[in-house]
Point group: C2
Chain length 727, copies 2
Amino acid sequence: MESGRLTKGCVTLPAESGKEDIVLELAKRCGADVIRDSDGTVLSQEILDFGFDIYSTLCIVRADQDWPGNHPTHLPQQYLMSHREVSGGGELKIEILREFYDEKYRINEDDDPKQWWEVIDRTKGEVVASDSWEYADGWVVIDDTEHFHEYTVNFLVYQTWDSVSMYNHLINDWQCEKTVSLNPFLPEVYQHLMGYFQQWLEKHPSTTVVRFTTFAFMFMLINDSESKQKICDWMGYCEAVSPAAILEFERIRGYRLRSEDFVDMGRFNPTSCPPSQRYLDWIDFIHGFVVRFAKDLVSLCHQAGKKAAMFWGDHWIGLEPYSPLFQQIGMDIHIGACNDGTGLRRISDAPGAQIKEIRLYPYFFPDTFKEGGNPTEESMQGWIKIRRALIRKPIDRIGWGGYLSLAYKFPDFIDHMEYLSNQFREILERTQKKESYKAPIKVAVLDCWGKRRAWLSHFGVDIKFMAGHDDTTVCSWTDTLECLAGLPVNVDFMSFQDIIDTPDYLDGIDVIINDGQAGSSWSGGDNWKKPQLLAEVRKFVYGGGGFIGVCEPSACEYQGRFFQLADILGVQKETGKSLNVTEATGCKIKNHFITEDLRAPLNTGLKKSYVFAAEKNTQILDYNDSHIHLAVNEKGQGRSVFLSGLPFSFDNSRLLQRAIFWVCGQENNLKRWFASHPDTDVAYYRDAGCYLAANNSAESVKTIIFDDEGRESQISLEAYELKWKGI
Amino acid sequence: MESGRLTKGCVTLPAESGKEDIVLELAKRCGADVIRDSDGTVLSQEILDFGFDIYSTLCIVRADQDWPGNHPTHLPQQYLMSHREVSGGGELKIEILREFYDEKYRINEDDDPKQWWEVIDRTKGEVVASDSWEYADGWVVIDDTEHFHEYTVNFLVYQTWDSVSMYNHLINDWQCEKTVSLNPFLPEVYQHLMGYFQQWLEKHPSTTVVRFTTFAFMFMLINDSESKQKICDWMGYCEAVSPAAILEFERIRGYRLRSEDFVDMGRFNPTSCPPSQRYLDWIDFIHGFVVRFAKDLVSLCHQAGKKAAMFWGDHWIGLEPYSPLFQQIGMDIHIGACNDGTGLRRISDAPGAQIKEIRLYPYFFPDTFKEGGNPTEESMQGWIKIRRALIRKPIDRIGWGGYLSLAYKFPDFIDHMEYLSNQFREILERTQKKESYKAPIKVAVLDCWGKRRAWLSHFGVDIKFMAGHDDTTVCSWTDTLECLAGLPVNVDFMSFQDIIDTPDYLDGIDVIINDGQAGSSWSGGDNWKKPQLLAEVRKFVYGGGGFIGVCEPSACEYQGRFFQLADILGVQKETGKSLNVTEATGCKIKNHFITEDLRAPLNTGLKKSYVFAAEKNTQILDYNDSHIHLAVNEKGQGRSVFLSGLPFSFDNSRLLQRAIFWVCGQENNLKRWFASHPDTDVAYYRDAGCYLAANNSAESVKTIIFDDEGRESQISLEAYELKWKGI
């Protein structure tokens, strides 16, 4: 730490009652200015009196556990789909809750099943007429079924155990009372919660910031009969359902959503699949409600002289921080858990004047902080990714959560916390919290979600098969986005609909990236059948734009093609439809601008891409047998790059950087504020009159820095070192 | 060779003029009874006078090269699709033949383009009105096109150079005259060819058998502007097209086929994709014509006192040897090229009383018979596969083709020919040409083609990416079928339509195999959306039947599922649609009847299957990380087996054998006429009162033979040895 630098501020520490000494010592070492409680911890009066700002955690929908006992219909609801029952012909009985956790769900018998449920012949794909079945005592009996057809029932349930409480009981062995949530969409609940919160504010005079985790609805998490996770989507809107909400939606939108709109053949509209317009309408509707609910709560905070913080946590559904409506809430502080550059940019790029804070990993919990654990190593791996992105676009604060006393048992981790806190403050201070220099290149990531899901990773099928990973909510398993998060270019997100709806939407964009597996919301699925989209993207490229396709870009089976932009990309993927068509040979190229900095053979994460040249002029830069992994092409004034995948590494980030500069014809601008060694970065801060050289690796390196005008200077950096230079 | 065995017969040798000594010597050593000519070779009078039966090769449609010069419209025709031209808006010009070999094609300007061609906006997927474009001098000009849409033209061409002649000139450096074919569908051509053939018969008095190669139409083979293969399908019917045939089809079937029915978005109805009903109608129509044409030719043969043989060669289109109509032709001898067990069974299982002959590989051509070549090794590899199948279901003759003088330069190969000839004759003689014992199990392979394409391999996308393989016509790259070809079970082929059209079609079948990649004609594609198919297959399994799914069985995206029979198979494949759904854990099983003979870890040809358990009772026998490669399940009285792939090997054949016995509940019957060592086979011939033990490996082995009643006896076998025992 240089002398004269800030030694305090911008850091949030968790605290716990009975550990006052530790709290004080660590707060001093880390320069913390805020103390928070966590799920399961309480702050003592002594801590509250230390003079720190105090964040108090509150999940309003599960704060009052007295109310739900007297109001059993006020619980959150959702649709479930029964298991598929094979018919033996004639009458068929289905025990609808059989494959679900009975401690978590109670069938909603209050709202007429004939009106709200659907029985479906899944073999035919047809709804069974409602006069052909009856419900009683947990069973649906269907009159006259077809032999060896499969039938399912979509039905409504109440949630009788909150998912988070359940998780902590079953996984973390909590012994406290089980909690339930409430459904704030019901006016009676809404009013009650406002009153409850008013009282809560009065009871928490030391609290300076209410840290909401978060507001109204839990993400999708369905548990099977053995309580295990069955279906999970951290961005799913299917637990915001209730007949009241559906009726209100109908009143506003003019049409009634069906149970099948939520159940979606048992898949519940996964974020990884292209959303239907009906589902998008539902998201917008719930978003509108949550903004109103959150705004009312934040107003109460402000009236009480406190600030409001939101944690992008389990109940974040409806918030949509990238939506313009979000700003109406009046939120003061915007907090997100963060373990990499993608997570950092998700917070730092979010619009609005909120204070931005990240909650670092690992959480101080016994899973990591146990004998033999190495939390310092785990944290450092994440921090280097975060720092790469942070020096491109800053945030305001960092923090930790959990049991401080657990972390205290690892002295090297405490040293590491101090190191991170000081390094973070130094970056903020030296850069004056400004973005670093960006090349005059605007990159737009194109997918179904656009800005709604900016900086949410484009995960693929491998996520399901990662050994030891039974939690498919992980959204920080990044590739292209993680590479992109630390590059000195401007990044935006756009949806297919943006291009279709808005004339000349692509004006001002230099590079389009389309990255994802075929049929995913990221690659785009059937959107690529839309003539207007194809024409606009071709116009963009022919006019000089750059198109980077990763994995299965523009992929959908249509008119004899799989990659609809095969003409632009110069490559095509074989899916078995054109085995009789001989591939073009293409031109194999050894040396190219894009691959100049690769230190080892390109690793796109797979050996077989099944991608072949679609044109004889396609330039093939990397291949394995006949499988193409990297190819470039030119069309009109524009260019394209195809990559069969792009796992995160410093080499691959550099490759992407070079691909971006090449594809929009700005090769000559690459070496302005450029660090030669792929493990290093340089970030230039014009207003602050300085630049920063960063070593992202655990080895000491020498790197050449190219300045504004391409002048070179060599610099040596120790492991992970940052070096600052005034200009 | 034991004394007393036949030393002559059942063998066909090629001969060539000027090599009479070699012919006589080799005929004696191999015991040949038939001499044939080959493409490019002539038989001298001396050879004709030796007293052998003489096969004379004739491809009738390219026999007379005088006629086509005077009848330019009598050439074969076909549809081509122009390249895709991107519009810059307004008028668009397309040079339709630009990407095709101009020495091979001439645009058909005789039949009105407005009636026979189609211009298609491939971005919209819509046909452009015929009054919006004009054709002249090789160009189509479209009036008013949409900016950045792609357009194509489907147009008719004449073939001005026969594909086989072209291949021999360009690849084998033939210097003789280029030849063209004729279109026998035209009545004038038909009459001319009959007259020509009558004269030919008169000019060939020594010929005892006319060996047709084959009759009317060439398989699909389109060449690009550099003469390279562009599109190829050995089973494709798109070169049988002409306006006359389309009009006759319309007269009979009641509807007109469009150019797009053939062009099929540029893919030309590949055999690997599910055929449309219109394309199947076309196949039937052409089949009907070719049967009439062949029957007339064969009648002339018979009237001339000669026999007729057909070689399943380049012009085989329309013959369909598995169709009942085929028998009307009156063919005497049925010959097929053969390099493996699948090829053997394709001939030996074909219905009818024809003499069955295989043409062995390698063909005596300079590609293999060159310095450094090892034709004996290549032949032995094929022979062992052929022999495995042959001892299950015999044929009548073997033979070779090409330049005998080339083979003569490899003395070890001549020894090998003698060895094969003697071994083949011994098998025929000892077994009295009877099938060997089969377990009382009937296996039916289920795909789109059924019996039409019995014993044609189920190849997948990898075929396109095999290094050095630029010929995608290869149809002997087998997996499951090659394993199946040598197993002691009854095998049949059936189509999805068979099951749907015929009540109780599955009665009498014990095991269904569905093997292929999703969307292929082998896996079945959208057929799996048909409720009747699903109900019948479920009924079959619940009633005690066995279902073996390999690769991507029953796969199509429908009603929330990818494997439509996931309930039967107990597994599901992740394609990205259900990333949010947690897989069932299934039960991992170490020891199982099916895997008992595996000597090394199971190799299904891939590491990642993306297949997971769909039910908790699914038994997982092999997996890699979380990717399942072998799983079994039970439903009702029946069972299922899933395999992620099945490349051919002796271990995998044994695995399939065990899977078949297990899946239909006949585990107790496995060890009846069973050889314990996976590299060995036993075949029992009840009528001949003997059995045969065969060693398929290059190592000497000991194996235990289980007889009719399961009694064991040990036997030692040298490399590749056959041992016979009387009973």
